[in-house]
Assembly symmetry: C2
Homo-oligomer: 341 residues x 2
DNA sequence: CGCCGGCGTGCAAACGCTTGCGCTGCGGTG
DNA sequence: CACCGCAGCGCAAGCGTTTGCACGCCGGCG
């Protein structure tokens, strides 16, 4: 392994100059820099990450913690974060909390808290004040994605506004009996996200002068199957059947569409369905949905982190950056049938 | 940040002894060890990863390279690898090649090859001899998952045997007109995997004395939509319609099931469908499939790596470890209708 | 013309651990 | 009883960078 002193010798300078030339810190004459760069590339020199970390105290490595991996949202966030991190020359170390259920503490104590990462991105994770505190104490910046963490800068969409938008879309089409399939308070997804999406639905209805009927709320967990089952319940009695439904996630919404089909109903003729996410399968199912952009969220988180790393903990404003979302109309939503009601 | 010398002072020993006591290397009296451990935990001491790496030359960090993230197979492999790595006290650094398409070299030069990881797991990746060589030159163990890499120990299922099994299942049910929806040679999935699955289908048919008809092979890429479209083509003409189909992945198979439904056909009455993977959605769709166990593959890769790391490049046997697979019969396969043909 | 500031570079001290070597004892063997 | 071997521990030399400080030099300003 070729080290910095070989480069120094070859370029006829000291190791200090090599370091400065290569890192861009400090003043180095242009000519010298070129000579150093040439020597380095000829020798195939690359700085030793560990030596550099030891000297600077920074690892150029950031930890991303997720509760699951096998979900479109998380992988998308990671993908975005990874791409941006790579541009900055950072590595992404992945911590997946699923599968270590009882060992959540391990992740924090034995990995995160050790000097293996410079900062942490927590995706859809509810961190305990203790956990937040210990990270802060170590001077490790921390940003959350997908849900507010008290005292921590966070990127997330306004769930309430999102499902309000979905509902308003249906209202604008002329629907008045609009159901909601949505989040049971799921231990894993936590974050009031499900609750907020339900509240958005209620708020939109109220604003339209419609009283949200509790019997039109169908709780479900965030899987296709659970959405399917909820939709079956919802569509069972033709007299009580709503003309449209706002579903808290695309995966559940797809389940709902499949349920409708299985019952001989047609989407959107018999029931309009709108989801939330813009999941990769949404186009295939023609699902109208409110898109959020998880990759962008991952990128944004990195951006925020880099900023914080630069200014050495200048400000700790735990701002909650609101994220863009967008209604994507496809074929699963339409005006209610004229011949009904 | 509390360092090793503080611990040493508190335990009344030298730093050398602390190091040995905590790492388990070398001889340390039981009593001393306990004292050191107590001191360490009281002080909340954790070794500095970079210092340790610098001294030992090992980072306790392994790189996992994937071509995509947004696919069930990759995330599952990663999940398995991550879990096992954590048990060994290793971190997982993720490199996602999608999104850096033209920058693939960057990943290798600027990250992998630098001393940031001790070893590499390449998932479903076709590495160039150059890439393999440079890793080898650095003494970095490398194992592949999901496809053979020349000169590299690899874990993968026997694709040919797997699709043969799927086909034999259908044959045993009495089907004789069995189609195949499968892999176009997709630039991204590479690896002959698609080809082998087609060959397995052909082989099984031949063994049963049936000549595989080229017109019963429907190429598709590995997405639900592509499977859907292929199935539509396949099922279009009632006269030519097969009674069963072996699909090269569950996602495509689900697409095929949806296509059948859309055409008013019933699965398995009108067409039996069997997939490959045992995707998380397979149970929901009642899909008969040949399960592979990607999480286990991830774990196995780690196991292999740890072994190689231990014995400091003792043997370079580029063995290709065959992996288990298993037929999972659900409701998408049945005997062909008696009243046909 | 003298001084000052800053550019360009080198020296050497960290950074926090690991580990080879060497020094004690102590128990077991011949 | 002498000696050998080894468990148990400490000393100190690395591991390969970064960076504060020092120094020389040059140009500009008063």
């Amino acid at each position: 392994m070729v080290g910095i002193d070989e480069v120094a010798r070859r370029a006829g300078v000291s190791t200090a100059t090599v370091s400065r030339a290569l890192s861009g810190r400090g003043h180095v004459a242009a000519a010298t820099r070129e000579r150093v760069e040439a020597a380095a590339s000829e020798l195939g020199y690359v700085v030793s990450a560990s030596a550099s970390s030891l000297a600077t105290g920074r690892t150029r490595n950031i930890g991303v913690v997720v509760p699951f991996l096998n979900r479109w949202f998380y992988t998308s966030v990671i993908e975005g974060a990874q791409r941006r991190l790579m541009q900055y020359g950072y590595d992404l170390t992945l911590y997946n909390l699923s599968g270590v259920s009882n060992e959540r503490g391990t992740v924090f104590e034995h990995f995160l808290l050790r000097q293996r990462v410079d900062a942490v991105i927590a995706v859809s994770l509810e961190l305990s004040p203790d956990e937040v505190h210990s990270l802060h104490a170590l001077g490790k910046p921390l940003v959350g994605v997908g849900g507010p963490i008290p005292g921590v800068p966070t990127l997330s969409i306004d769930d309430l506004a999102v499902s309000r938008l979905a509902t308003e879309h249906l209202l604008s089409l002329g629907h008045t009996v609009i159901a909601h399939i949505g989040g049971d308070v799921d231990a894993e997804m936590s974050f009031h996200m499900p609750t907020n999406r339900r509240l958005g639905w209620e708020a939109a209805l109220r604003d339209a002068g419609i009283d949200p009927r509790p019997d039109l709320y169908y709780p479900a967990v965030f899987t296709m199957e659970s959405g399917y089952l909820a939709a079956k319940r919802m569509l069972g009695d033709p007299r009580l059947r709503p003309t449209a439904v706002v579903v808290a996630s695309d995966e559940m919404a797809i389940g709902a569409i499949l349920a409708a089909r299985d019952m001989g109903l047609e989407v959107p003729r018999d029931i309009s369905v709108v989801g939330i996410d813009d999941h990769e399968l949404a186009p295939f199912f023609g699902l109208t949905t409110v898109a959020q952009f998880p990759e962008g969220q991952g990128e944004g988180a990195v951006e925020l982190l880099m900023h914080e790393l630069d200014q050495a903990r200048g400000d700790d404003e735990a701002t909650n950056v609101p994220l863009p979302f967008e209604l994507v109309v496809r074929s699963s939503s339409a005006r209610p049938r004229a011949d009904r009601d």
